[in-house]
Symmetry: C2
Subunit: 208 residues, 2 copies
DNA sequence: TGAGTAATTATGCAAGCGTATAATTACTCA
DNA sequence: TGAGTAATTATACGCTTGCATAATTACTCA
């Protein structure tokens, strides 16, 4: 008779976050197909049956993991905002440099982002989260761009178009830095991003 | 006794391409998990066993499909190049506009790209294809940028950094146009891309 | 034209999947 | 302290997956 595996009770919140973290880790390491209920349970230190106790279905767990990831990224980015200087130019420069430097440029994050990106076109809930996240980031960028332009006495320009372009620029650099980290020298991305933004806005952004 | 399903023989090449096309369609529609051997065979109009006859393993088939996709994109992009005008500025403008307009901005392509993007960090073969494709596109862009700058008598600038930034800009716009097609008016992307490139290079690119 | 052969179909299997449900156990609190 | 209960483990089921192998059939060419 094998004896039953001993266990400790943990609060609902602790178990849910443990399961979500395990799910994200597995997806990042081996793609969505690696996140099986058995693998998730193993990584979270529980048995598969427990997943059912906290999530009605595996799909629910994955959706919860996605939301956690996205809001986590948003919050991390928002938290950084408070650390930036007040001067509009320096503030924008810091923000831009941030977006293309570690830990934001992280293969794990890029991989997770690609996984969710796949679901966006065909899953309404995913699309909603993507839209909100995307617009949230872009609007924040747009505000900083508008401030920087205003500080230079330029109020006649189209900040929406500039924010879309700037956002795309950061996205593209972020992806490549995460996908091909060996192709770029340390701080090269930062320098490229700052110079590109300076030209894009016709403003002299300070290197950080 | 059900009678055996009738069939026609097809050449090796025809069957391979049919299987690859079916695989790409399925991945684009429903993600990698939708591309099962049975679904692929059904879509290709054959029975599952035949896959084994042409590909030792399903992984081989997926890899072949990925290579077909990437080289197809590269060739399509290269073919367009010949249609562009000779004037360096107009040529660059046409190239840029192309990259953010249909049929290049296509949800199917973005979805497929995201699927392969996920594999890049952990699959050496995928990474190789990605690197070659990325560098191929970027180098082409870099040459056009250098030409455009030279035509304006500016030879002192760093075309590598500009190409990296320009490539990132196009990538980001391409992704968003594919992921959230409803967020942008027709031709808005084109206009944004042209204006952004004009600023990035400090050159007046003509609208197309 | 008919024997040979390679392409194709048909069948089956072992493994892994998500999930349902029953059995057990750690903790709570009266 | 001990009965009650919710958290956790254990077991099992049905389904799908990729793949192996055997049976059949369309085509080739001497």
């Amino acid at each position: 008779m094998n004896q039953r595996r001993p266990f400790q009770r943990a609060g609902e919140e602790a178990r849910r976050t443990a399961l979500i973290e395990a799910t994200l880790d597995l997806i990042a390491e081996g793609g969505p197909q690696a996140a099986t209920v058995r693998a998730i349970a193993l990584k979270a230190g529980v048995t598969p049956g427990l997943i059912r106790h906290y999530f009605a279905t595996k799909e629910d767990l994955v959706a919860a993991a996605h939301e956690t990831l996205m809001t986590g990224l948003t919050e991390a980015s928002a938290a950084r905002l408070d650390d930036l200087p007040d001067d509009p130019l320096a503030r924008l420069a810091g923000f831009v440099a941030n977006a293309v430097s570690p830990p934001v440029t992280d293969p794990r994050a890029v991989s997770l982002w690609a996984a969710s990106m796949q679901l966006v076109p065909r899953d309404a809930a995913m699309r909603k989260v993507h839209e909100e996240t995307y617009l949230g980031f872009r609007n924040r960028l747009q505000r900083m761009i508008a401030d920087a332009l205003a500080a230079a006495g330029r109020r006649d320009e189209d900040p929406r178009a500039l924010a879309i372009a700037g956002n795309a620029l950061l996205d593209g650099l972020w992806i490549e830095a995460g996908a091909l980290p060996d192709h770029f020298k340390p701080d090269e991305m930062k320098s490229i991003a700052i110079k590109a933004f300076s030209r894009l806005l016709d403003l002299k952004l300070p290197e950080v």
